[in-house]
C-alpha cells in the first residue's frame, strides 16, 4: 500500500521525457518511417544526380547545375515523411487510446506535449542530418568528374547541408502541432500537406506583387532558400526564413497546447 514518498515520485518533466523516449522507440513504425524517409530521400537525390550525369555525358545538359541544391532534392520528399511521422506522434496516441494512460500518469498536459515535442525534435534532427549529409555526399559522388562538384568546405555549403537537416525537424514539430489540433491522422496529414504544398500553388495564382510577397513567407519557399548556397531572388535570407518557420511552429505549439488543456482528452 502507498506510503507516499512524494518528493521521489513526482511526475517530473524529465521523467515524462524519458517515458516519451521509451514510447517512441518501442514502436516499430517510428524506425520504419525514418528508414523509409532515408531511403526515399537519398534515393531521389541519387536519381537526380544520375540524371545530371547521363544528360552531361550525352551532351543534353545546357544549363548550369548547382551541385549543392541538386544533390539535396530528395530532402523535399523527406520533409513530407518527417511531417507524417510528426502527425502520428500524437494522433497515434489518440486512435489507440494510449493518451488516456498517458494523461492518467501525467495529468499536466503541457508537460506531456512539450516532452513529446522535445523527444520527436531530437530524433527527427538526428535522422534529418544523416539524410541531408547522405544526400549531399551521394549526389557529389555520382556527379563527380561530370560537373564541378561541391565540397563541404566551400563557402555556404556546410550551412546548406546542416541547415537542411535542422529545418526538417522544425517542420516535423509543426506537423505534430497540427496533429494535436486536428486529432485525427487523416485530417491532420491532409492539413499538413495542404499548408505545405497546396497553399504555395494557391498563392502563386494571386496577382503579381501579392503572390511573391506572400509566397516568401510560406514554409515551402523558405525550404527552397535553405537548400541553396546562393541567394534566391525575391526570397527571405535562409536564416530569416528559418526563424520565420520556427515562429510559426512556436505559435502552432502554443495553440495546440492551449486546445489540449481546454479540451476533453
Amino acid at each position: 500500500m502507498t506510503t507516499a514518498t512524494a518528493t521521489r515520485s513526482e511526475a517530473t518533466f524529465w521523467r515524462t521525457v524519458h517515458a516519451e523516449w521509451i514510447k517512441i522507440r518501442s514502436v516499430r513504425s517510428t524506425m520504419f518511417t525514418l528508414l523509409f524517409m532515408a531511403i526515399l530521400g537519398v534515393g531521389i537525390s541519387s536519381l537526380g544526380a544520375l540524371a545530371v550525369r547521363a544528360a552531361t555525358n550525352s551532351g543534353h545538359l545546357h544549363h548550369a547545375i548547382n551541385p549543392v541544391t541538386h544533390s539535396l532534392g530528395g530532402t523535399l520528399i523527406a520533409q513530407i515523411a518527417i511531417g507524417v511521422l510528426g502527425v502520428l506522434v500524437f494522433t497515434g496516441e489518440i486512435s489507440s487510446g494510449t493518451l488516456q494512460s498517458t494523461f492518467a500518469a501525467v495529468p499536466q498536459r503541457w508537460k506531456v506535449l512539450l516532452a513529446k515535442v522535445l523527444v520527436y525534435f531530437i530524433i527527427a534532427l538526428i535522422a534529418s542530418e544523416i539524410v541531408a549529409f547522405a544526400c549531399f555526399f551521394a549526389g557529389q559522388a555520382i556527379m563527380s568528374g561530370v560537373v564541378t562538384t561541391a565540397n563541404l568546405s566551400d563557402p555556404g555549403v556546410l550551412r546548406v547541408v546542416a541547415g537542411t537537416g535542422l529545418y526538417l525537424p522544425v517542420i516535423g514539430v509543426l506537423a505534430l502541432a497540427i496533429g494535436v489540433m486536428i486529432r485525427r491522422t487523416a485530417g491532420a496529414i491532409t492539413a499538413f500537406v495542404g499548408i505545405y504544398l497546396v497553399l504555395p500553388l494557391l498563392v502563386s495564382a494571386l496577382p503579381s506583387p501579392y503572390s511573391t510577397d506572400i509566397d516568401k513567407f510560406l514554409p515551402f519557399q523558405v525550404s527552397q532558400t535553405m537548400l541553396s548556397n546562393v541567394p534566391v531572388p525575391g526570397s527571405l535570407s535562409p536564416w530569416t526564413g528559418f526563424f520565420v518557420v520556427v515562429a510559426y511552429t512556436v505559435i502552432l505549439i502554443i495553440i495546440a497546447g492551449s486546445l489540449l488543456k481546454a479540451r476533453d482528452a
Binding site: 500500500m1 507516499a4 515520485s9 511526475a11 524519458h18 521509451i22 494512460s101 494523461f103 500518469a105 495529468p107
Partner: protein, 308 residues
C-alpha cells in the same frame, strides 16, 4: 476517498451528468450502476481529470486528480478496454508508465505476474485477445500499488473465466483495504461483488446505499406467497399496507412489506404458508424499474415478468 460534488457535464443540449453528488468510502467495493448511456463513463473520466466538468467537482482525497503528486501511486484506473498502442509490447507499455511516476521497474514484473501476462509480456499488445487486453489494462492500474482503483465496466466482453478472475481480483484487492469503484450495467454482477452501490440514470443519482439494503428493499418489491388460505391472508396483507397481485399459477406477488412481516401476518391470521420467498430475479427487475424512466436508450419491448 472520492468526493463527487454537484458534478455536471453538458454536451450541447444533453446533460450527460446532472448535478451528481456522492462519496466513495475507502476499504470496500462500491458498485456504480446504471444503464448504458447513464453517464457512468463520463463521471469516471471527470474523476480522472480526462474530461472537464461543466460545473461541480470531483476530488480524490480532497484534491483534483491533476494535483496528485504521483497519480499512479494514488489512483489506478481501467477506463476503456484499449488504452495502449497495438505496436508496443505489454512490458514496454508498463515501463513507459512506471517511468513517469518514478515507480521502481520491479513493479512491472510484479503486475505482469499478478495479471498472468508474464509469458506474453514481450509480445505486441495488438495481438492480445480482449481478455488479455483487459488484463494489461488492469496491470497498468495496479502498477503504482494504488489505494484507490477505478474500473469502468471491467467484465464487459469477457468470457466466464475472465469474469470470475476479475471478481476474485476485486475481492482480494478490497480485502487488502483498497477503495474500489467499479461500474457496470449488470445488476447481477454487482450484487455478487459490491458492498455499496451508487445507482444513476440519465446522469442523475437514483440510489446511494448499502448493497444489502438495496437487495432487501429491491427484493421487497416482489415476494412470492403461496397459501391455501388466500381469502384470509391477502386482505390481512392489504390492511397491513402491502400490495398483493395474484398470479395465474395460484401464487401472489406481495410488495411493500418486508418478508419477515409477511410471515408474522400469516401466523397471526392463522393462514398456512406453502411458499414464502424473495426472488433473486426480482433484483434485476427492480433495477430496471428503477432506471427505466431514466434510461436514455432502451428497447420498446419490456421483459416478461418472471414468476420464479
Amino acid at each position: 476517498m472520492i468526493t463527487v460534488h454537484n458534478l455536471t457535464k453538458v454536451y450541447g443540449e444533453t446533460r450527460a451528468v446532472d448535478n451528481l453528488s456522492f462519496e466513495i468510502a475507502p476499504g470496500r467495493i462500491t458498485g456504480f450502476l446504471g444503464p448504458n448511456g447513464a453517464g457512468k463513463s463520463t463521471t469516471m473520466r471527470m474523476i480522472m481529470g480526462l474530461d472537464h466538468p461543466t460545473s461541480g467537482a470531483a476530488l480524490i482525497k480532497g484534491v483534483h486528480y491533476h494535483d496528485l503528486p504521483a497519480p499512479l501511486r494514488t489512483v489506478g484506473a481501467l477506463l476503456e478496454a484499449k488504452s495502449f498502442h497495438p505496436g508496443r509490447s505489454a512490458r514496454n507499455h508498463l515501463i513507459s508508465l512506471a517511468v513517469t511516476n518514478g515507480l521502481p521497474l520491479e513493479r512491472v514484473d510484479v503486475v505482469l505476474e499478478e495479471t498472468g501476462l508474464t509469458s506474453v509480456a514481450n509480445r505486441r499488445a495488438g495481438s492480445f485477445s480482449l481478455g488479455m487486453g483487459q488484463r494489461l489494462g488492469i496491470a497498468g492500474a495496479l502498477l503504482g500499488d494504488p489505494e484507490i482503483l477505478l474500473l469502468d465496466e471491467p467484465v464487459n466482453g469477457l468470457d466466464p473465466e475472465g469474469i470470475l478472475w476479475i471478481r476474485n481480483l476485486l475481492k482480494g484487492l478490497a480485502a487488502q483495504g483498497r477503495t474500489i469503484f467499479v461500474s457496470s450495467h449488470l445488476m447481477s454482477e454487482m450484487a455478487l461483488t459490491a458492498d455499496h452501490v451508487v445507482v444513476i440514470g440519465r446522469g442523475r443519482l437514483i440510489a446511494d446505499t448499502e448493497m444489502r439494503d438495496f437487495i432487501e428493499s429491491s427484493s421487497g418489491v416482489s415476494i412470492r406467497v403461496r397459501t391455501p388460505h388466500s381469502d384470509i391472508l391477502y386482505p390481512a396483507l392489504r390492511s397491513a399496507g402491502g400490495t398483493v397481485v395474484e398470479n395465474e399459477d395460484g401464487t401472489a406477488s406481495v410488495a411493500g412489506l418486508p418478508i419477515a412481516k409477511i410471515g408474522d401476518i400469516a401466523l397471526e391470521s392463522r393462514a398456512a404458508l406453502h411458499e414464502l420467498s424473495s426472488q433473486s430475479a426480482s433484483l434485476e427487475e427492480a433495477f430496471m424499474t428503477m432506471t427505466n424512466d431514466s434510461a436514455t436508450f432502451h428497447s420498446h419491448s419490456t421483459p416478461a415478468k418472471q414468476g420464479v
